[in-house]
């Protein structure tokens, strides 16, 4: 077991395990008082949210296997990081997720069926509910960090009480945009939260080969901004760290870099085979059995009398139904019309797009298959 533990931690840092902020142990024990900081109802909401997302995620992997969706990026194992951070936000806060952060997006108000649409490659899969500020998943790595500087900067300029949060992975910290974003945010003291889910891998690349630095949070000091390292599978720690970052941002104290240590149980995407680059079975089992964010919170809630098997069953059933409903909605949603590809290239339309639309229209009329 000891040996195992070290191997796992190596996926996250060279030479052991630098300190990280933790409130709730894997056994469900509180090791730092959180009295009055997290409502009981919020605790239950945290749990339910994670349950919903895990159900959603597993369902999605299956849908991909059945050919009902395209390549999918699962987040199972990272629920505490995504839920904890998203629940710490206000409704009007700006969110910049990646392809793996639909969990966070859903908690922040994105609708389940939209997420299905996204992975079904529907043109409208990145639209968020009216009034929400959830941007499309960023595919080019680390680019969204700079956007979250810009939106937060505008909030500051306009005197609006909103923060912007950018999600990204450990791999993203190697891109130049990571650096430029943190530096800009430091200069303009933007209320930006740089929320890094360090799941130990950028596809096949363990973080220890991604950088010679032991942690990601230590990068904050390069810009003299706040940085913190938290147990990303401890939803209390995540929530508290993000709350603090939000408050700091709104008080005009600038950005925060949060490194949340976590692990994706599954493949990078459904197109990836993790067995090639890591001892998938062993390492994944270790995390599931010893670090699971959901089991951990469940232990705590049960001890506190806030949750029981009955509720679990009821919620599970309810979530399954909800997800199925959204799946139905997504599958029944009018398919993307080929001609829609000419819409929204610009606010207006120019002659060349009009003509090209016409050209495709004629071809579609002929009715010949592609």
């Amino acid at each position: 077991m000891e040996k195992m533990e070290n191997q796992i931690m190596k996926a996250h840092s060279i030479g052991g395990d630098p300190e990280m902020y933790r409130v709730l142990t894997p056994d469900g024990e509180i090791i730092e008082t959180i009295d009055g900081k997290i409502d009981k109802s919020l605790m239950v909401k945290m749990y339910e949210s994670m349950l919903l997302l895990r159900t959603f995620d597993r369902k999605s992997v299956n849908l991909q296997r059945q050919g009902r969706m395209g390549t999918y990026a699962p987040f199972e194992g990272q629920e505490a990081a995504q839920v904890g951070s998203a629940l710490a936000l206000s409704a009007g806060d700006w969110m910049f997720p990646t392809y793996r952060d639909h969990g966070a997006a859903i908690i922040h108000g994105q609708e389940l069926y939209r997420v299905f649409l996204y992975w079904m490659a529907h043109l409208e899969g990145s639209v968020c509910p009216e009034g929400k500020r959830i941007l499309p998943p960023s595919v080019p790595i680390a680019t969204q960090l700079v956007h979250a500087v810009g939106t937060a900067w505008a909030s500051r300029l306009k005197g609006e009480e909103n923060v912007s949060i950018a999600y990204f992975g450990d791999g993203a910290t190697s891109e130049g945009d990571f650096h430029e974003a943190l530096n800009f945010a430091g200069v303009y003291k933007t209320p930006t939260i740089f929320f890094c889910q360090n799941n130990g891998y950028a596809i096949s690349m363990p973080f220890e080969k991604q950088s010679a630095s032991k942690t990601i949070s230590q990068r904050a000091s390069a810009y003299d901004i706040h940085g913190v390292r938290v147990d990303g599978n401890d939803i209390f720690a995540v929530w508290l760290a993000v709350r603090k970052a939000v408050e700091r941002g709104l008080k005009g104290e600038g950005p925060t870099l949060i490194e949340a240590i976590t692990f994706r149980y599954g493949a990078h995407t459904t197109a990836d085979n993790p067995n090639i680059y890591r001892n998938q079975n062993e390492i994944s089992t270790f995390w599931r059995e010893n670090r699971d964010p959901i089991a951990r919170l469940k232990r705590f809630l049960e001890k506190e009398g806030l949750w029981n098997e009955e509720q679990e069953e009821k919620s599970s059933k309810q979530f399954n139904e909800l997800i199925d409903l959204h799946l139905q909605k997504a599958e029944a949603y009018p398919k993307s019309e080929p001609l829609e590809m000419f819409n929204h290239v610009y606010a207006g339309e120019s002659w060349h797009l009009k003509e090209q639309r016409q050209e495709l229209k004629q071809i579609l009329k002929k009715g010949v298959k592609k």
């Binding site: 409208e124 956007h147 505008a154 300029l157 002659w351």
Partner: protein
Amino acid sequence: MMGKSLTMLQAITEAMDQKLDHDDRVMIMGEDIGVNGGVFRSTEGLHEKYGENRIVDTPLAESGIIGSAIGLSLNGMLPIVEIQFLAFIYPGFEQLISHAARMRYRTRGQFGVPLVIRTPYGAGIRGPELHSESVEAFFAHTPGLKVVAPSNPHDAKGLLISAIEDPDPVIFLEPTKLYRAFKEDVPEEMYRIPIGQAKVVQEGSDLTIFAWGTMLREALNAARKIEKEKGWKCEVVDLRTLYPLDRDAIVQSIKKTGRALIVHEAHKTAGLGAEIISIINDEALIYLKAPIKRVTGFDVPVPPFSIEDHYLPTVERVKQGIVETISF
């Protein structure tokens, strides 16, 4: 309103000044554009007038600049970004191509990026390496962007105001060589020149010269000389907007003259000249009396300034092209 005699640089400053004055959402950001007033002085006086929140000296990081401007524009601002020289846009290329140009599309109109990127372009100013590029073709190959390049103070002001008001990202290419080259009357009011419209600068019947930016002068001079020397009348069309091109203006002129020559200082291969030829091929091939000539920068890196004038299209080369085309 009365007009004032302004250089292109002054016309550009005036456009920004007026928009800043009329619309709180407008802001300018870039390297050395605040206290210093820009390396070409295009933002001179604005920092003092509008303060550091609206005229923002940024760190030296083009991806950071363009990327955060995208964020600012998502959240209600109308940022005008100055990139110090066109080649220095490359570090921000991904932000431009993969985000600015696609945000509206990806969100089905929910979020737009009303961003203007102003940057001096082109050779002929004895600039150091990489200060003289003309790579408009990159942007003209990118759906979601608009590309504009004025050739005179009047158009510069009107086009820049349109660009700032445009709901989509506009690359605004300022011909460095013309910044202070001449003055002309520029109306004081906030007028607009629509993006997407070319302008017939000189009517003619024997051949059409298509040009923009700095090269318009070469086109006009060549046209004048050739008229004197040979009596041929060239039509000169200033394209002004490079993406989307004003197809109708191109085709209309060709139907009239039957011959064309394109002048641009960008490299020939895969330059915008090729697209113009292709538009004519598509729409007016049968009107063509001769192959269309491209007089362009050569397919070599823009050389050091001691020989840059030989890299650039010259009046001589344009004239020779006209002769070859008309006597084909």
